[in-house]
């Protein structure tokens, strides 16, 4: 059995572009790019919205906890929180029990901003999936939820 011209060695079970790894990487980049553009109108970057989402979920409140939850360096949380504080989206208060800790809380303004960004994400979702039948849309959502859970991402 010989190699066909131009396929030496043969594709290992399908081309790179049809792998889940490639598809998630490229579609993820597009999704983030569109979301970046959408939330920019509110003076926000995706990671700043992500920090607000962590606070809304109530799974972390100190900056160190938030850094661990988001998988970023603590020094990055400083600048993200600085910006959110400037926008009036969060409050920073020293923990009275341990004055080294800064406890972050979403303000009403923060809740409003997060809701607006979430609405923007839903709008982008609709555009992204417009070519998808409802059943496939549902199956996609379910499958990504499973992958996210397995990867330790918020569900």
């Amino acid at each position: 059995m010989k190699d066909v011209k131009g396929q030496s060695p043969a594709d290992p079970a399908g081309p790179l572009t049809s792998t889940l790894t490639f598809r998630l990487g490229t579609l993820g980049a597009i999704a983030t790019e569109r979301f970046t553009e959408a939330v920019q109108a509110h003076g926000l970057k995706p990671k700043q919205v992500g920090l607000m989402a962590v606070l809304a979920a109530g799974t972390a409140d100190s900056q160190q906890d938030i850094a661990r939850t988001m998988g970023v360096a603590p020094s990055l949380v400083v600048s993200l929180a600085d910006h959110l504080e400037t926008l009036g989206a969060i409050r920073r208060e020293r923990d009275p029990n341990d004055r080294r800790r800064q406890v972050l809380t979403l303000t009403d303004r923060g809740h409003t901003l997060l809701a607006e960004c979430t609405t923007a994400a839903h709008t982008l979702d609709a555009a992204l999936t417009e070519a998808l039948p409802p059943a496939a849309r549902q199956a996609l959502h379910q499958a990504l939820t499973t992958l996210a859970a397995q990867a330790g991402l918020p569900t």
Copy 2:
């Protein structure tokens, strides 16, 4: 009808973290991070592998065409191609009909490298989807193929 405490205003049809936009963004980042680590053993970065995939697909051969296909700046293609040439993965030849154009072609070494990276992607795919029933795996692949096609990505 009053707002429930801590949900003012209410979540617009589900939290941010359950949107397709958020899931694709975060899972895409993880996929790219894992792929980056995997291809690093071959001295490659994801975009360099992407360039090889474009050449293998035969949809572009000059650096300008490749830049347009990949959605990156032409100056970036220069450095990606420089590195691939150093590895012996591609050849750069002037187009005799238009000596401004550099025509890039995959060498045998390039085909081998691309095949190895593709195999690595398949291995990552398996790890990523190990919690997914075969039917769901198939549905996910089909849905992402549709999204990729609609977004103008390679299918």
